[in-house]
Amino acid sequence: MVIFAWINLLAFTVAGCGTKPHVPTQAEIAADRQLLLELQQVLDCIDEVMQPTDEELLADAAGRLMEALYCADIATATRFATDTAIGLLLYVDEPEINHYSIKRTDVFKNRGVAEVIINQKATLKLVFGRTNDYDSWQLTSVK
């Protein structure tokens, strides 16, 4: 009985230590590297496919700008608009923005136009610009 117990204990001890670690061969290492490379390429491809389009980036900038104006948060609005463009809003006869919706967006290389409906009546054309494809959209004019 005692001997049986000793055998059991020995068996558990061997199991707890684990098996001897496998040392990969050079071929396996090369295969792993190849697999990782292929996976990275797949991820890059997915990432590229998932990138927002220029229209989506423009709609996002216009939405965030309108949200800031809705809250009368001019400090935040300046992140999405030049001072000149914000000044032009003084000439728009909408004292408050109680509701807004982005009707459409159009992108022409580094110039974008977001058509916005304010308070369900006034339609504004917000003209955005950017210096290059990777720059963020900034409101430059209001029509």
């Binding site: 001019i74 400090a75 000044g87 809003l89 003084l90 000439y91 728009v92 006869d93 408050e96 923005i97």
Partner: protein
């Protein structure tokens, strides 16, 4: 003797009556009435207001280029917006008039001080610029004057709203004056002074604290009217800024 006295009393009454509607002696005013009276009557009726108007209040937003006409049936009732008129021409920039020749349209709390039926710009209504605030806040001894709301579409410090529109506003003002409203208030603002617009002004003019302080005092009057639809009673403090009384 008694007949003569009665005749004189009647004559005096007629004269008084003529005085109250004396604007109709002028051809342009009579024409304005003929052209606009029915339209204005219908407009007031639609708004549930008595016509001819009893109490008028005008306000102008320079930024938005809008002149609003408000009316109430008596001095205890809140005002109702009758009509917004687009301003056709207005010289200068945002900011008050502080000297003669700056071509600025004033900003502040004024009233219609006179009517000119012989204006070079069809019909015109004089704004009571300069007031005590303007005198105190200006460093210039020559503040200028002759600020009008008028017809046509040209402006040198004035507010031009075109001939057809000045006919409407002028005729309303003439009737309100005839009905006993001696001082028809005209409030001139740089823009609608809502939180949004005021924050924009604060941002754009952050390097001009004196101007912002002046606009801040104007905003009190704007906010009061926005909330109560009653014309605020405004005082001027020792520095020339407006305050609500």
């Amino acid at each position: 003797m008694l007949q003569r006295a009665a005749f004189l009393i009647l004559l005096c009454c007629c004269c008084l009556k003529l005085n109250s509607t004396d604007q109709l002696w002028y051809a342009r005013v009579a024409d304005a009435r003929d052209a606009k009276d029915a339209l204005l009557r219908a407009l007031f009726q639609k708004k549930g207001l008595a016509y001819p108007p009893q109490n008028l209040y005008l306000r102008v937003f320079k930024g938005e280029s809008v002149l609003e006409v408000w009316a109430s049936d008596n001095s205890t009732l809140p005002f109702t917006l009758v009509k917004s008129y687009p301003v056709c021409a207005m010289s200068g920039q945002l900011g008050p008039k502080r000297r003669e020749g700056d071509e600025q349209v004033p900003e502040g709390f004024y009233h219609i001080s006179s009517l000119n039926p012989f204006s070079a710009y069809h019909l015109s209504m004089e704004v009571s610029y300069p007031n005590a605030s303007d005198r105190q806040l200006s460093t210039n001894s020559r503040l200028g004057g002759n600020i009008y709301i008028h017809g046509n579409c040209k402006s040198i410090g004035c507010i031009a709203i075109t001939d057809p529109y000045i006919e409407e506003v002028y005729w309303l003002v003439a009737q309100a004056r005839a009905n006993g409203q001696v001082k028809i208030p005209v409030h001139l603002f740089p823009a609608r002074m809502s939180d949004l617009k005021f924050n924009i002004l604060q941002h754009l003019y952050r390097n001009k604290p004196t101007l912002l302080q002046f606009w801040s005092s104007l905003k009190q009057g704007y906010d009061y009217f926005q909330y109560y639809h009653r014309v605020p009673t405004v005082g001027i403090d020792e520095n020339g800024y407006y305050f609500l009384q």
